[in-house]
Amino acid sequence: MFVLLLLQNAIADVLNSSEWVFPITECFHITAFAWSIGLIALVDFRLLGVGMKRETTPQIAKAVAPWTLLGLAVVLLSGPVLFLSDPRMYLYNPSFRFKIGALLIAIVFNYTIHRKVALSDSASAGVRVLVGVVSLALWISVVFGGLFIAFA
């Protein structure tokens, strides 16, 4: 436990050694979250039947899937770097806890139910709308939680 604590301080020291590490990592985090959540929302809006009627949902979902994954990968790599710069502050921050909870649910939802419905040609309209709304709500919660870390 003590070793862990030392290690964590050592990592934080490295990350805080330059005032640029945090903001630059944040820029990657922001650009990548725009990419991934934007593309997930695109599929959600198609599920809801808002726009893009010339393409089917599976077509859109398949086309954007690798890029969503890439965006999520960058988000999930840059996020822990931000976290490790001041772990104790984040751990006790209620917005951060909310965000991580919502993020875990959102990722699991995205790669299970959301993917299944988005790639299916036979899902009923009700299911499609429900899945689209839940997905949007989850990802919006993640963004709100992330932003409120600085305010709460």
Binding site: I30, A34, W35, I37, L42, E55, P66, W67, L147, F148
Partner: protein, 184 residues
């Protein structure tokens, strides 16, 4: 109008909520911009024509932009003076101006007429340039936007300095008259 922005500023939660919505708009708009530009660069969705991809993302992109701009105006209006002195905010405005120029230069040839880009075997260099510049500009704008939060202009100090200058100017104007007044 000022009263509305003052109310926005005064509420503890309205500002972060509008900021969160600004970020959601950014996520949506940013995602669409990235995909459009990456397709022009030939890096994504290559099985689909440029026209298909550009058309697919066009309308969602506009909705995202509408949300970002609306929230952005609310945010800027609620902290107008702080932002006026904020170097990142000024840089962001200049970059947004550059985006307008980019739009004027490339809109007709690239984004509004993507079908023409499919007629040649590879995407023309001008379209690739447009895409690269667009990615660079929007990423910089997002980063400047984040940067705004790192600076808190010392308004009290700035106000004190403004008052000093004003007082000096007034003294210079009135000075001789006052002295005359005292003489008599």
């Amino acid at each position: 109008m000022t009263g509305f922005f003052t109310a926005l500023r005064g509420s503890a939660y309205v500002y972060p909520i509008v900021l969160s919505m600004h970020m959601i708009g950014l996520a949506f708009f940013g995602g669409m911009v990235l995909m459009t530009d990456m397709r022009l660069l030939g890096l994504t969705m290559r099985k689909r024509s440029v026209a298909e991809v550009v058309d697919l993302f066009r309308i969602p992109k506009r909705w995202g932009l509408l949300l970002i701009v609306t929230c952005g105006i609310l945010l800027a209006g609620s902290k107008a003076e702080e932002y006026y002195y904020n170097a990142f905010f000024r840089t962001k405005l200049i970059l947004l101006g550059a985006v307008l120029v980019h739009e004027l230069v490339f809109r007709r040839g690239v984004y509004a007429n993507p079908a023409a880009l499919d007629r040649t075997p590879t995407v023309p260099a001008s379209a690739k340039l447009a895409a690269a510049l667009s990615l660079l500009l929007w990423t910089s704008i997002a980063c400047c936007g984040r940067g705004i939060g790192y600076i808190e202009p010392p308004l009290d100090k700035i106000h004190a300095e403004i008052h000093l200058v004003q007082d000096a100017a007034l003294a210079a104007l009135r000075g001789p008259n006052l002295l005359k007044g005292e003489d008599h």
